[in-house]
Amino acid sequence: MKKLHVNVSVNKNELEFLCNPEDTLLDVLRNDLQLTGTKEGCSTGDCGACSVILDKKLVCSCLVLAAEVDGSEIDTIEGMADDNKLHPLQKKFLEHAALQCGICTPGILVAAKALLEKNLNPTEKEIRYWLAGNLCRCTGYDKIIRAVMDAASEMRNENGSNYS
């Protein structure tokens, strides 16, 4: 079968890959680009483990065809920390022990970051609704919500008067 040639920017690196027409973005990230931080849970859009940012929008990479993303910008969990400096969300997830097995964690971090980029002062309810498409079978969610609220608060303080 003829492979399709795709150019993308992933975490600000220009890359190219070959894929089959039915491959998903998730398949390519994990199997071809070795970016295995993005997880596969359900493969049907229900669990959010595969969340990435595609052209500034939060999406499930299991429901995107790899061939669709030619010319796009993609941000994955691997691009979240700034070299060795963790993102405030990552730091707060550790502090609050907001993970156990960790399979949901990359997806939740990516989704939470997308929320905080839109709204740095979300209410608990807004966070819970925003993350409704990210399933976690271990934590019971509460620690996740606390960690996101705490990270938002720290980011507001860091940004000083910009967000008050």
Binding site: L4, P21, E22, T24, S43, T44, G45, D46, G48, S51, L54, K57, L58, V59, C60, C62, L63, V64, L65, A67, E68, D70, A111, A114, L115, Y129, W130, L131, A132, G133, N134
Partner: protein, 292 residues
């Protein structure tokens, strides 16, 4: 399978028209990919329409708003003024899936996938929305409510696709609403749903009423004859009870693990009433706002 991402309408039409096997338009892919993976469909050709010029535009046009076929839920709900213009369609669209699904799902996809429980079909129908359709025989328009014909089936002909959806302008003192019943408040599919469009005059007398019900038959139920019943009356408990009864008896639901026939029919009446109260309140608020 062949994947194509044409950069013109014409090219998309001829690709679709010239393929003899199963073809699928790909917009947000939130139905197409799920169906492909489960083996429910095996398309020979996938046509991604997102490179077609204008397909992602939202435009205020003389007749109302034109929503490009590839506009996603989050783009719609972040567009200034749309939520005020049509709170009912906005709340229906917003109910689809999670934040992740909102980044991708489209009105045209929800409509063409033709699920009996699709959230936006009742809301688009009561607002008399129509689709602009292009195909091998040129351009045509059709009302949204004529497009789904059976679960998973629509009235588009070979080679045709929806280019945009028009939400028509409405008389002053009109509004709409959409509510659904689901066991879980997010990430669930309607067990029953109701959309309402209402127009009042400045004395709060009803001039137009449309109600459509989702998930209570193989396609959305558009309740007939409400307009004559309510013309020039005020909203009263008695009127609301009558409407609930008519809506309940218009249902032809199925029995399944999510709801029995009896439950679905009853809840349809309750939701219709609540949707009407909400739309009526919104339309009434406009009378006050304009009077001030």
């Amino acid at each position: 399978m062949i994947f194509a991402k044409p950069s013109s309408e014409k090219e998309a039409i001829s690709l679709l028209n010239e393929t003899s096997g199963m073809t699928r338009i790909l917009s947000g892919g939130t139905d197409v990919l799920v169906q492909m993976k489960s083996g429910a469909i095996e398309p020979e050709l996938i046509v991604d329409i997102k490179n077609i010029p204008g397909i992602k535009h939202i435009k205020a046009v003389s007749g109302g708003y034109e929503i490009g076929a590839a506009v996603s839920g989050s783009e719609f709900n972040n567009y200034p003024g749309l939520k005020d213009f049509t709170p009912g369609i906005a709340e229906a669209f917003d109910l689809i899936g999670s934040s992740q699904i909102q980044g991708r799902c489209t009105l045209a996809g929800n409509l063409c996938n033709a699920s009996p429980a699709a959230d936006t079909i009742p809301a688009l129908s009561v607002s008399s929305c129509f689709a602009k359709i292009v195909g091998p025989n040129g351009f045509r328009e059709d009302l949204v409510k004529n497009i789904p014909t059976a679960p998973g089936k629509n009235s588009l002909k070979k080679g045709e696709f929806i280019k945009s959806i028009i939400i028509p302008n409405r008389p002053d003192y009109s509004s709409d609403s959409y509510i659904r019943f689901t066991p879980r408040s997010e990430m669930d599919i309607a067990v029953v749903s109701a959309a309402c469009f209402i127009t009042l005059d400045k004395n709060q007398l009803i001039k137009d009423l449309k109600i459509s019900l989702g998930a209570v038959a193989s396609t959305v139920v558009h309740v007939d004859g409400l307009c004559d019943l309510v013309m020039d009356s005020k909203i009263t408990d008695e009127l609301l009870s009558k409407i609930a009864m008519i809506c309940s008896s218009s249902c032809k639901p199925i029995d399944d693990k999510r709801g029995t026939i009896e439950f679905r029919s009853h809840v349809a009446g309750v939701l219709a009433k609540r949707a009407m109260i909400l739309a009526h309140k919104r339309a009434g608020d406009k009378i006050e706002k304009i009077a001030r």
